[in-house]
């Protein structure tokens, strides 16, 4: 291959990303590189900009990118529509999954899977193969099939919603999965199952970014890197030990370090 090896190797490259919403500056220069096969954890206090970063990766228009760049597999991600990003393999597990009355998860995912296949020039999946694939994936995340026949997220418990997000991830087989606080609201058993689902997706070709407040999740999904997002910037990066340190000390020492600068 003649193309730059490095750019293939680096799946996601965020450079000096700045963004605002309604005149309020939220991201003030984010730099992050994610290689295929890696798991990155992003932690940080409430309101620091974690979900904003996740939403911008997914292409939400409410956020205005005012500077910087995002490259995904050599493509300018910011140029792509949200649906094309998804079709290219970017998946976001929402912090607050949305309800769609009257549309079952099955129907929803069938539409999604076929839209993605069409984009890739593949034929639509027939009902039989689709159901077979679904059966396999329900086992991975141990999700109850009756849940999948109900209206998407409508009346789901907090934990069911999160588990459904991971089920969708398993079905869509993304290259880059961004999990925004998928662990919050999960009981211990569900946490293990969700983590297990994520781990099964892990391969040398895929990457995961987990946004979380709790080091507990990282016992199950062991990250290669941990970043601390504070006030719109990544102020500290390290390995999983950093998460333990945060757990012990809280964010104050980071805040203090940063106001001191």
């Amino acid at each position: 291959m003649t193309t730059d090896h490095l750019s293939l190797f680096i799946m996601l490259s965020i450079k000096n990303l700045q963004a605002r919403v309604e005149e309020k500056e939220i991201l003030k220069g984010i730099n992050l590189e994610v290689k295929a096969g890696e798991v990155h954890a992003i932690m940080g206090p409430n309101g620091s900009g974690k979900s904003t970063l996740a939403s911008i990766l997914a292409g939400r228009e409410t956020y205005e990118v005012t500077g910087g760049s995002i490259t995904f597999e050599g493509k300018d991600l910011l140029e792509l529509s949200p649906e094309d990003r998804a079709r290219e393999g970017v998946f976001l597990a929402f912090q607050y999954p949305v309800e769609i009355p009257g549309v079952s998860t099955i129907n929803f995912l069938k539409t999604a899977v076929n839209a993605i296949r069409e984009y890739r020039g593949e034929e639509a999946m027939d009902a039989v193969s689709f159901l077979k694939m679904m059966k396999e994936k329900t086992k991975v995340v141990e999700i109850d099939e009756t849940l999948l026949k109900r209206s998407l997220n409508e009346g789901f418990s907090g934990g069911e919603k999160k588990r459904n997000e991971i089920f969708q991830m398993a079905m869509l087989e993304p290259k880059l999965a961004v999990l925004d606080e998928t662990d919050s609201g999960l009981d211990i058993d569900a946490l293990k199952i969700v983590a297990n689902g994520v781990n099964k997706l892990r391969s040398k070709n895929n990457a995961v970014i987990v946004v979380t407040h709790y080091q507990r999740l990282l016992d199950y999904i062991v990250p290669d890197y941990v970043h601390v997002l504070y006030n719109g910037r990544i102020v500290k990066s390290g390995t999983k030990e950093l998460a333990l340190e945060l757990e012990a000390k809280g964010y104050d020492w980071i805040k203090n370090e940063n106001t001191a600068v």
Binding site: V98, I100, G102, V103, T111, A115, Y119
Partner: protein, 481 residues
């Protein structure tokens, strides 16, 4: 104007997919309406004297009436002298086989997606196709007649089954009922007639396809459906029209009669030409549909998916005369661009323990106006009558309107009448959620809307439901709110 509104404006220009004109020579009445017109129609159809008298009575009554103005719709006064009241394809229509049909006409059916051959062979749906004013052919007649089921055009019924027609025509919707029923009764051209004998379960869906073809013709069909004791029938009605700049009037009357323990399911997918995006052209759909549960334990269900017409004025109703009778109304009404719809139902409880259920889903986009108007009336003798009504409105964009006019009159204290109503918008977060899964905005809206209408779509027979889903998607193309 905000960005999303601009996109909405740009995108809500989906073309009407059924707007082709068929070139068939027509045999028409001259423009205008007078007693002579009525006589002309009656003579053309070789009608018996009693029917001509019936028509003339209706016409004379109509002359004393005025266009109703209570509906939440506006349109310029209709010039009734500028309409052609009778238009028949020039062809002898007593055909023994489908092959004798004018090829142009056949092609029209094909374009409509109702190839008669196909219908006959594959779907088990009997079709009575009405183009303009004359019913062209009725398939499956042989098979049905073995069971004693009569399914034919109204003109034919007048000759072949005069006693049934004479007895029931106008018995549910009197000629004097309203302005448009009087007009229809005077000039009705054709329509479908159906009779299901005692204890017979009609083994296939019966279907009528209406299409307005000739320019400046009003279509005034008349449908009469009688389900005798303990019988069952499911009836489908589909409508399309070519694109024309002028408005065309469509004033139909449908009467349903269910005897003791009989059940009628009547489903409509109405996709008349809605006019262009500036409101030019389109069909005025002023229809009176009424059913009576004449006997105890009778059941009647109206299901309608209304996506077309520039103006819709329509209230399929059920008179619950029998004890323990059941009336249902399931409706999806979509308006886009400049369309106006004022639609709903009337449930008149007379019988004891009669029950009714109303599920109405209104969807408004563009600059359209969408009104639900419903009456639930419980008569004094209707002991233990029950009604449940659910009226939901979905708004797309901020230039359209949704209105709900529920009227409730309860004359018996044991009755329980419940009414629920909601208004919602398609959330930007819902669309984004779909986008994030690879589903583009068009498809996302279709998906969300179909989900919203699911309870109604579920009532439709399978093939019809699929068609209805596609129609919903087409008529809302680009209407992202």
């Amino acid at each position: 104007m905000s960005d999303s509104n601009k996109i909405l404006e740009e995108l809500t220009q989906s073309d009407y997919k059924y707007g082709f004109v068929t070139n068939i020579e027509n045999d028409s009445a001259p423009k205008g309406l007078s007693e002579d017109t009525v006589r002309f129609i009656s003579a053309k159809k070789n009608e018996p004297e009693w029917l001509l008298e019936w028509r003339l009575k209706a016409f004379r009554h109509w002359l004393t009436m005025e266009t109703p103005t209570w509906a939440n719709v506006t349109f310029p006064a209709i010039d009734y002298q500028d309409i052609i009241y009778y238009s028949a394809p020039k062809q002898k229509i007593s055909l023994s086989s489908l092959d004798e049909i004018d090829p142009e006409l056949r092609a029209t059916f094909e374009k409509l997606g109702i190839s008669l051959d196909e219908q006959k062979r594959l779907s088990g749906v009997a079709v009575d196709a009405v183009i303009d004013s004359v019913s062209i052919t009725t398939t499956f007649k042989g098979k049905l007649s073995e069971l004693g089921i009569i399914f034919c055009s109204m003109s034919e019924a007048v000759h072949e089954h005069p006693e049934l027609v004479k007895k029931h025509l106008g018995s549910v919707v009197p000629i004097t009922d309203n302005y448009f029923t009087a007009l229809n009764s005077a000039v009705f051209s054709d329509g479908s007639f159906c009779y299901i004998p005692k204890g017979v379960r009609c083994p296939m869906e019966l279907s009528t396809y209406f299409r307005i073809n000739a320019a400046n013709t009003g279509q005034f069909e008349r449908t009469l459906l009688i389900a005798d004791e303990g019988s069952y029938v499911s009836y489908l009605e589909g409508c399309t029209a070519p694109m024309r700049d002028e408005n065309q009037l469509h004033a139909a009357v449908v009467e349903l009669i269910a005897m003791e323990k009989a059940e009628i399911k009547y489903s409509t997918v109405q996709n008349w030409y809605p006019g262009d995006k500036n409101g030019k052209g389109g069909i005025y759909n002023f229809v009176t549909k009424r059913a009576i549960c004449a006997g105890d334990h009778a059941k009647i269900s109206w299901t309608q998916v209304e996506t077309g017409s520039s103006i819709t004025w329509k209230y399929p109703s059920v008179i619950l005369k029998g004890d323990y009778s059941i009336g249902e109304f399931y409706s999806v009404a979509v308006t886009n661009n400049m369309q106006q719809a004022d639609t709903g139902t009337k449930m008149i409880h007379i019988g004891k323990n009669s029950r009714s259920r109303i599920v109405s889903k209104g969807i408004s986009a563009g600059k359209s106006q969408n009104s639900y108007r419903g009456l639930v009336k419980v008569m004094p003798r209707a002991e233990n009558a029950r009604n449940f009504s659910q009226c939901d409105s979905l708004l797309m964009g901020d230039q359209c309107g949704a209105h709900t006019f529920p009227y409730i009159e309860v004359g018996n204290p044991s009755a329980i009448v419940e009414h629920e109503a909601t208004t919602s918008k398609i959330g930007e977060d819902q669309v984004f959620y779909c986008n994030q899964r690879g589903i583009d905005t068009e498809k996302a809206v279709a998906l969300i809307v179909n989900g919203y209408c699911k309870e109604v779509l579920n009532q439709l027979p399978m093939e019809f439901a699929v068609e209805a889903q596609k129609l919903l998607a087409i008529s809302l193309e680009g209407s992202v709110g």
